[in-house]
């Protein structure tokens, strides 16, 4: 029996034992995890069956067809797209046991405490300190993070902090799993260009993290963070969408609905963008086929680049197409959304939110550097800070 058929049989058997109509949502999701049908590429015992990643879509489809509850992946994008693969790759057995299941079921939402006011593109410049308390063995963390998406909903965070200032910046960082309910964590909304506050400032004052929540070795933080970032780019730019999915579908529909707004110039731009969106979709399919066996490399950066350009191109076009209606906006009220939504709300929101697509998860400039250096093998920029101990760097 092929892996695909075997999987389909497992789903059918599972559904026979757990009727989606009568089983409690969380209970259903926990059982699905235990059956290895959560993320099939993960190992057995951790929600998967050690199968090819390419089979996931099939499982999700079968569950959706049966009307089964899903784990609302949009609400936990950072957890599923970034925290989970990193915990799987670098975590201890205990950490995987503790964190992966509630993460997948959505009982615990995650956020990412990487960026700081002085360390955005240059993430390795971060200054948040983690100092080991020799008596308890715990880490004591102090510092400020910024632009933290969804911190207001998060139960845990992936966190990078500086643990050694005497070595060059890339070598003195350590990666932690932080508890957002710790009394030292203060989350303050940060309003953004759309009016809402999707991201936050997070102040960390004497936050105590047990050593069992260190992910990877002390000083290995840069390597672990890079793994997370490669996954982040694929999560942002490489999502599986049907043809005309996402922004291009919305704008195409607007075009069909508004014959009076059509001009040859807009038509040309629309078709170019339509082609590019279809091309990006196919590139995503091919990238996922390549990834089916391995882990994301820097190639995902190229996907994210075109995703950002397209969303900006299309959302800008949509406003022009709407003419007078494009001059209006739905609502400037500061709200704190449950999840990040690139295409929801109205055209004005989409236009403004899309501006973040070339900044979040690495700016387009940084991604081009990554592609040029790590994929194409071109020389790195000249830099003076690589071999200097962190504490001696001008900041």
């Amino acid at each position: 029996m092929s892996a695909r058929d075997d999987l389909a049989r497992r789903v059918v058997e599972f559904l026979a034992e757990h009727d989606p109509d009568t089983t409690d949502r969380v209970e259903f999701l926990r059982a699905r995890y235990d059956a290895g049908l959560a993320w099939v590429a993960f190992p057995e015992g951790h929600g998967g069956l050690g199968l090819s990643r390419s089979l996931q879509a099939e499982v999700d489809r079968l569950f959706a067809e049966a009307g089964a509850p899903d784990n609302n992946p949009r609400a936990n994008g950072i957890g599923l797209g970034m925290a989970a693969p990193t915990i799987l790759a670098f975590g201890t057995e205990e950490q995987k046991e503790r964190f992966l299941k509630p993460l997948w079921t959505g009982e615990e939402i995650w956020c990412q405490l990487f960026s700081e006011p002085g360390a955005g593109s240059d993430l390795a410049a971060l200054a948040t300190r983690a100092v080991r308390d020799e008596a308890s063995g715990e880490w004591v963390v102090n510092g400020q993070k910024v632009w933290t998406s969804g911190a207001q909903n998060a139960r845990f965070a992936i966190l990078v902090a500086r643990t050694d200032v005497d070595v060059p910046k890339h070598r003195g960082m350590t990666y932690f799993l932080a508890d957002m309910t710790d009394p030292g964590v203060d989350v303050r909304p940060l309003r953004q260009v759309t009016g809402e506050a999707e991201f936050n400032e997070v102040f960390l004052s004497d936050v105590r993290i047990p050593d069992t929540q260190r992910l990877g070795d002390e000083g290995q933080g840069w390597q672990v963070a890079n793994f997370t970032l490669n996954n982040e780019r694929v999560a942002i730019g490489g999502r599986a969408l049907p043809r005309e999915g996402g922004m291009v579908g919305i704008v195409s529909q607007t075009w069909r609905d508004r014959p009076e707004a059509r001009t040859p110039e807009l038509h040309d731009r629309l078709l170019r963008s339509w082609v590019e969106a279809e091309v990006a979709r196919l590139t995503g399919v091919r990238l996922r086929q390549k990834l089916a066996q391995g882990v994301p490399g820097p190639e995902g950066a190229a996907m994210k680049l075109s995703f950002a350009r397209l969303n900006q191109q299309l959302s800008g076009l949509e406003l022009e197409l709407l003419g007078e209606d494009g001059l209006r906006y739905s609502d400037w009220t500061m709200v704190r959304p449950e999840h990040v939504d690139f295409t929801g709300r109205d055209a004005g929101y989409r236009y403004l939110r899309a501006k973040g697509n070339s900044i979040e998860g690495g700016t387009s400039e940084i991604l081009r550097n990554i592609v040029a250096e790590r994929v194409l093998g071109l020389p790195a920029e000249a830099r003076g800070d690589k071999d200097v101990p962190f504490k001696e760097l001008p900041r």
Binding site: H267, V279, A372, L376, G377, L378, P379, A382
Partner: protein
């Protein structure tokens, strides 16, 4: 629906390696450049080697008719390699377009084409998009800018809704100075009533052949773009100015990163068009329009960037970049411009233009 496999199979990789081997041995840039000075002596033996030894001529012909019964996916691997070498062989015009136009009828000529004993060409301007009007030579006449006619000993001529098989000796084939001399064009004059009619709807057969040609041309364009990208990365990675390697300047790195992304996207798009063609999937017209719109532009962009980033070297005849620029630009116009394909796409995906 499961996604078609866009990664090459082992069979495709083997074929690709064989094609590349022959091209490496027999078709360097100097050979191709010589064609601009009128030396076409290379084409015949090179095509013979590829057509007969590698069986490329009969790739798309069913085994029952003497071919190897491979699919468009293998043909795409060949096209990509031909693009990478700017190879001057009539694979696209004979083994893809002329052959495909005969497949619906199962005409006896297919056996000779498959064996590489004869080489064919469809008599339409090479710029003809799959849905553009075809010439009609029922009363005889001349068709300008036909690709593959110089190499062909048998011509497939649209005449009154049928295709006629005309021996090249019965027609006038006048070579023209072409932008891309590695795929030199000819003006073809056919007398009224020449040759014999092929069975069936010749117009539909010719359109299907042009559509298949356009779908596979995307792979050639991807091959051209990959060559340009790789050569350029190699060049800027060793060329020094201002005391450093010029490939370390961010302005160049970013352009090459963008070109890499476009080229990877071309790979996926061309692979999809070929996979859809191979699977006889109804998505072929859309897949082809998308592939031609994208890959045509990427090949030209890659060749133009290659020339610019090679500086003065890029402008020299001695260096092969110019061959690729000419191939890329001619390919952009071949079988419909990107604009023509987008116009077709607008209808196919229900995004009509104009004011209502």
């Amino acid at each position: 629906m499961t996604d078609l496999d866009l990664l090459p199979t082992d069979i495709e990789e083997d074929l690709r390696a064989s094609v590349r081997g022959v091209l490496d041995r027999r078709c360097g840039p100097d050979t191709v450049a010589a064609m601009y000075d009128g030396d076409r002596a290379v084409v015949e033996p090179l095509w013979r080697a590829m057509a007969v030894e590698l069986g490329l001529a009969g790739l798309l012909v069913p085994e029952s008719l003497g071919g190897s019964g491979a699919t468009a996916r293998e043909a795409a691997a060949v096209m990509e390699e031909l693009g990478r070498a700017c190879a001057p062989v009539p694979f696209l015009t004979s083994a893809v377009i002329a052959t495909t136009s005969l497949l619906p009828s199962g005409d006896e000529l297919l056996g000779a084409l498959a064996a590489g004993e004869r080489t064919g060409a469809l008599v339409v301007p090479f710029s003809t998009a799959p849905d553009a009007p075809l010439p009609d030579l029922a009363e005889g006449g001349t068709v300008r800018s036909v690709a593959g006619a110089l190499e062909a000993d048998v011509l497939l001529v649209p005449a009154g809704g049928t295709l006629r098989v005309v021996d090249a000796t019965e027609a006038g084939v006048e070579p023209v100075v072409s932008l891309d001399m590695s795929r030199q064009l000819a003006d073809v004059t056919v007398p009224a009533g020449a040759g014999r009619a092929v069975e069936g709807d010749g117009e539909a057969a010719a359109r299907a052949a042009l559509l298949a040609g356009a779908a596979l041309l995307a792979s050639e364009q991807h091959g051209v773009a990959s060559w340009c990208l790789r050569e350029t990365i190699g060049y800027v990675g060793q060329r020094r100015q201002f005391g450093r390697v010029v490939g370390g300047f961010q302005a160049l790195k970013h352009r090459l990163a963008d070109l890499f992304a476009e080229t990877e996207q071309a790979a996926a798009t061309a692979a999809y068009a070929a996979a859809v063609l191979a699977a006889e999937d109804a998505d072929l017209p859309i897949a082809t329009a998308v592939a031609q719109s994208w890959c045509s532009e990427v090949a030209v962009h890659a060749a133009e960037e290659a020339l610019q980033l090679h500086g003065g070297v890029g402008m020299t005849w001695e260096y092969p970049v110019h061959l690729y620029l000419k191939r890329a630009k001619a390919d952009q116009i071949a079988l419909g411009t990107p604009g023509a394909h987008r116009a077709r796409l607008a209808t196919l995906v229900d995004l009509p233009g104009g004011t209502a």
